[in-house]
């Protein structure tokens, strides 16, 4: 069931949405109601607005499609990330970091995150270095958001991925150019409301389709033996279970992937996201932040809590209601539950049943799926599909899926001497997503939910993507223009100021092209989640010790921060280039120096799947402390400027 059937209605709704956000953006452009206006007027910005704005910026298609898809593949263990998103990303960030960030930011007149660090530690290098890291790597995160939107648009409208990518990129470019950058509160807040409504409806529907909360979870429990063999081998124990815990064997790989990369990388990395930190500076006082905590927590629960639960539950849904596959049973996993391994077959126009086979390249990637006639032995008895190597060196083998036999009619034919018994059953999410985890959520939405919800969800995703992308490009642009260019070449003159404007525009265009290019080449293998985790982890390792130290530790020195940032960055870079197999292999350098291996620790599990954050963050924190203590303390006058006494209003 594709949205193509409601094409015109769809387009009209999307256009209305785009016009509405453009109108609000234009209103903001004309100088009314920015966050800064509220601040100076001393008026109380509604906490709803600030919280929704923060939440909408934080949560994007990366979270909903990317990480939701990973939950569909790996299960509810991902809810640990939701917990971190709420407790760390909202509670700890707002309650402990928000107030100090706002105060220091105002006292030092800092307007970007690199500027905050640079002025706190009186170092041009820090500001420029941080600006460069943000400018060069933000496109990676932006591409994750683009891919997330593209995967859904491609599936919903039945158009090729690259066409969808181009269409989406054009929409984003138009939005960003025509006023989306000004961070107008109302636009973000509207998008937050759309997202909240969409995800709430999704939650109710998802649980309803699997007969309720407890029933749905129990169905999911019962599917544990349907985990594909390749995932079982790395520790997958089912969609309601944690992966197997341990260290030193590849059967524990999944635990380290889920916990170190997905949960910790993003869960902790959120504290060092430049585009979120600057938002703390736009509130009038700590009171606004206090109020925003409640709304923020509920919003994040509705976003990632729903996305991950739905992703995992999609397996239960598909096993109960998904389209049927036909084939022959080659292995019975659990006779009572009807869990089998089905070798797929397809009938041709004449009604003759043919074997479905996959042709896989040397890397194991499926390059082609086609049919071939059933094999028979000399006596006329049917034979299973034999694995063969063809003339180009690719393997051709039977297409098999784990399946739950249809309860009403598990078999279509009787078993016979010359023909196998035809069975029919339903499979798990990754199968319906054709092997691409980033396709799980789009496939689930377009298959399981009514057409009108598909439209609502499309708006939800657009809102999620736009709010995040506009802040990403805003941050990228200011990093290039204000933090790098102006710092290095000056910008106080009017001509310098004009140059900055050009630099910012060029930087944004460059960033967009980079993001789209990456989106074109890097598809599949849950790249959305991985690209996001890389950026979050990089920011955490490079910036978090400097940021937290800057807010709370007066003994932290410029040298300590510089050393810490460089160590955090270099260790992360080294780890991604030479240790973490998934990324190192894609980049390729490690294969050249290690004779084809994907990691320098190829024979030492589980290091090749441990996230760089795990090593780089402790090292950069340690470096910050040791080097700060070994160097001269900062100037007392400067510290007095950063930390003047707080004057509170006298009310309860």
């Amino acid at each position: 069931m594709m949205l193509a059937q409601v094409g015109l209605f769809d387009i009209i709704v999307v256009l209305i949405y785009l016009f509405l956000t453009a109108y609000l953006g234009w209103l903001g452009y004309r100088g009314t109601k920015t966050t800064a206006d509220y601040l100076v007027a001393g008026r109380k910005a509604h906490p709803f607005i600030m919280a929704l704005s923060y939440g909408a910026t934080f949560i994007s298609t990366s979270a909903i499609v990317g990480f939701g898809g990973v939950a569909g593949l790996f299960g509810m263990s991902l809810l640990w990330l939701t917990f971190c998103n709420i407790f760390v990303g909202i509670f700890i960030a707002f309650v402990f970091l928000g107030g100090p960030t706002r105060r220091i930011g105002h006292h030092l007149d800092a307007h970007t995150f690199p500027e905050l660090l640079g002025r706190r530690f009186q170092s041009k290098f820090i500001q420029v270095f941080a600006g460069l890291v943000i400018f060069l790597f933000m496109p990676l995160y932006a591409s994750a958001v683009l891919i997330g939107g593209t995967e859904f648009i491609a599936t919903a409208f039945g158009i090729p991925y690259d066409v969808a990518l181009l269409v989406f990129a054009v929409i984003v470019a138009a939005y960003v150019i025509f006023g989306g950058l000004k961070g107008v509160m109302y636009t973000d807040a509207l998008q937050g409301v759309i997202m909240f409504v969409g995800m709430t409806i999704l939650l109710f529907y998802s649980y309803a389709k699997v007969s309720g909360v407890v029933s749905g979870h129990q169905t999911l429990n019962g599917l544990s033996d349907m985990v594909p063999a390749t995932l079982q081998a790395i520790g997958h124990q089912g969609w309601t279970a944690m992966p197997q815990f341990g260290f030193g064997g590849t059967k524990y790989n999944l635990w380290w992937i889920v916990v170190s990369t997905i949960v910790m990388g993003v869960g902790i990395g959120v504290l060092a996201q430049p585009q979120l930190i600057v938002r703390f500076m736009t509130v009038k006082s700590k009171r606004e932040l206090n109020r925003a905590v409640g709304i923020g927590g509920v919003f994040i629960l509705a976003m990632t809590g729903v996305a991950f639960t739905t992703g995992a539950l999609s397996n239960a849904y598909f096993s109960l209601h998904g389209p049927l596959f036909t084939g022959r049973v080659i292995k019975t996993v659990n006779a009572e539950k009807g869990h089998v391994i089905l070798q797929l077959m397809k009938a041709n126009d004449a009604g003759v049943w043919l074997d479905l086979v996959d042709e896989k390249d040397k890397a194991g990637k499926v390059v082609k799926t086609f049919t071939q006639p059933q094999q028979q032995d000399a006596a006329g008895k049917w034979l299973p599909v034999a694995k063969q190597t063809n003339e180009v060196g690719n393997t051709v083998e039977a297409k098999v899926v784990p399946a739950v036999l249809d309860k009403a009619k598990p078999y279509l034919t009787e078993a016979g001497p010359t023909a196998p018994q035809l069975a029919q059953g339903r499979s798990i999410s990754i199968v319906y997503a054709k092997g691409n985890p980033d396709q799980i959520i789009p496939t689930y939405i377009t298959t399981a939910l009514p057409k009108w919800f598909g439209v609502v969800f499309l708006l939800t995703l657009l809102a999620a993507a736009m709010s995040t992308l506009s802040s990403q490009f805003h941050t990228l642009g200011t990093a290039a223009g204000r933090d790098v260019f102006e710092r290095l070449f000056g910008g106080e003159t009017s001509s310098g100021s004009q140059r900055t404007v050009h630099i910012v525009r060029v930087a944004i265009l460059f960033g967009l092209i980079l993001a789209v290019t990456f989106g074109h080449y890097a598809r599949g293998g849950y790249i959305i989640a991985r690209a996001t985790a890389i950026f979050f982890g990089l920011c955490a390792s490079t910036f978090l010790p400097a940021f937290v130290g800057g807010l709370f530790w007066k003994r932290m020195t410029r040298s300590g921060v510089i050393a810490s940032m460089i160590v955090g960055f270099l260790v992360t870079a080294f780890w991604l280039l030479f240790v973490k197999a998934a990324e190192a292999e894609a980049i390729g350098l490690v294969k050249m120096v290690m004779g084809g291996k994907s990691s320098i620790f190829w024979n030492a599990p589980n290091w090749p799947v441990v996230d760089p954050l795990f090593i780089a963050l402790p090292l950069s924190a340690l470096t910050a402390i040791i080097v700060s203590l070994a160097t001269r303390p900062p100037d007392k006058a400067h510290l007095a400027k950063c930390f003047p006494p707080i004057r509170n209003n006298v009310n309860a």
């Binding site: 906490p47 809810l79 930011g105 089912g238 009038k284 700590k286 206090n290 223009g481």
Partner: protein, 56 residues
């Protein structure tokens, strides 16, 4: 608990709900605390922020 067999996953599910409740309770308890006067630095910051936004 809640139909989920693995206790660690069930715990994660519960913690998601609990941490949200914590956020709501905190916000309610502190809804009138922490107000600060608008100071000279704040006004200066806003002026510079507007100037920067113009550039974009």
């Amino acid at each position: 608990m809640l139909g989920i067999e693995d206790k660690w996953v069930a715990l994660a599910y519960v913690l998601c709900l609990a941490s949200t409740i914590l956020c709501v309770i905190y916000a309610w308890a502190n809804r009138n605390r922490g107000d600060e006067t608008v100071e000279a630095d704040d006004v200066k910051w806003v002026a510079e922020e507007k100037k920067m936004e113009e550039k974009l």
